[in-house]
């Protein structure tokens, strides 16, 4: 399916990622180097170690202490977190940290797979292009405007929780 920028953003909106920036890209089918998997494994660890500059996003990920330490030390990726390429390797993406981002496996990474698969027969595709190393949807990262201005009780509770207040 050939999308344009508006339809791509609309599709991402229906998949719950209305704040995900996109880039237009013409896939260049490319073969992988024989040692790509070894390099990929090393790069994943390097990427994890580089996440210390994303403390704000990590704080919103609601991880246990063990998961947090494993992530920070670059030891292992906690469950339900995925490392994705902005430009997939098979479409000419490079094995570089700049080409990677971290997101939740479900629902984000799974829905991004669906978003890309939908465009698999198109000449130009729209790929997710998060500006930071960690992508969290606004729905995950915050509770809306909060207080009396919140649109529903859940948003209000989330805001109260985030700002360290009680729910009374």
């Amino acid at each position: 399916m050939q999308l344009n920028k508006n339809t791509a953003l609309e599709r991402l909106g229906t998949l719950g990622m209305d704040d995900m920036p996109v880039m237009e890209y013409t896939p260049k089918r490319s073969a992988l180097a024989p040692d790509w998997f070894k390099k990929y494994c090393e790069l994943r660890r390097e990427f994890l170690s580089s996440l210390t500059d994303c403390m704000e996003e990590i704080a919103f990920m609601n991880m246990s202490q063990n998961d947090f330490m494993n992530l920070m030390m670059g030891r292992e990726l906690p469950e339900n977190l995925s490392i994705r390429f902005k430009i997939p390797l098979l479409w000419g993406g490079e094995l570089k940290i700049d080409n990677m981002f971290l997101c939740m496996t479900f629902p984000v990474s799974y829905n991004l797979d669906r978003f890309i698969i939908d465009q698999s027969d198109a000449n130009t595709v729209f790929l997710p292009d998060p500006k930071k190393k960690i992508y969290l949807t606004t729905h995950t990262g915050g509770g809306g405007v909060g207080g009396n201005a919140a649109s529903d009780r859940l948003s209000q509770s989330a805001f109260n929780f985030m700002s360290g207040r009680g729910n009374e």
Partner: protein, 144 residues
């Protein structure tokens, strides 16, 4: 390899194996899969679902017959939900997706053959006659 040996092996690698769901009727799952024009559950999947209701290892997973609640983590969708989401994809015609990781998707067909699919176009990258080999390849990438 038997299902028990597979589960034992994958558990020793750190996988989380979710207990069998009590209220799931596999015949209904099969009927729903048939309605989606995808492959019905093969004997190895039925055997697996008689021993567990899904497996995760890092970011890799084998979907279960029902949604799995994981506490504060987002629930693991059911096999039916995944295949319903993918309905209409021509590369998946006759195949049922049963697992995924950060790099590949995995599916089986009506003959019990398993496939490794790329996560961009869902085209076949590899065929497996041994379904346990496919499930191991699916899960092991979750913890690299």
């Amino acid at each position: 390899m038997t299902t028990t040996e597979f589960l034992s092996l994958i558990k020793s690698r750190g996988a989380t194996i979710f207990p069998v769901a009590q209220n799931v009727n596999l015949s209904i799952v099969n009927t729903n899969l048939q309605n989606m024009r995808v492959a019905i559950l093969q004997p190895f999947m039925i055997d697996l679902y008689n021993n567990c209701s899904g497996i995760t290892l890092g970011s890799a997973c084998i979907f279960g017959p029902s949604e799995i609640d994981r506490g504060i983590k987002y629930p693991l969708p059911s096999l039916e939900k995944i295949n319903h989401d993918m309905t209409g994809n021509k590369n998946l015609f006759g195949k049922t997706v049963f697992g995924r990781n950060d790099l590949f998707w995995f599916a089986f067909d009506v003959n019990g053959t398993c496939f490794m699919l790329d996560n961009l176009t869902l085209s076949v990258l590899r065929k497996y006659d041994d379904p346990y080999r496919a499930m191991i390849d699916c899960l092991i990438v979750g913890k690299i």
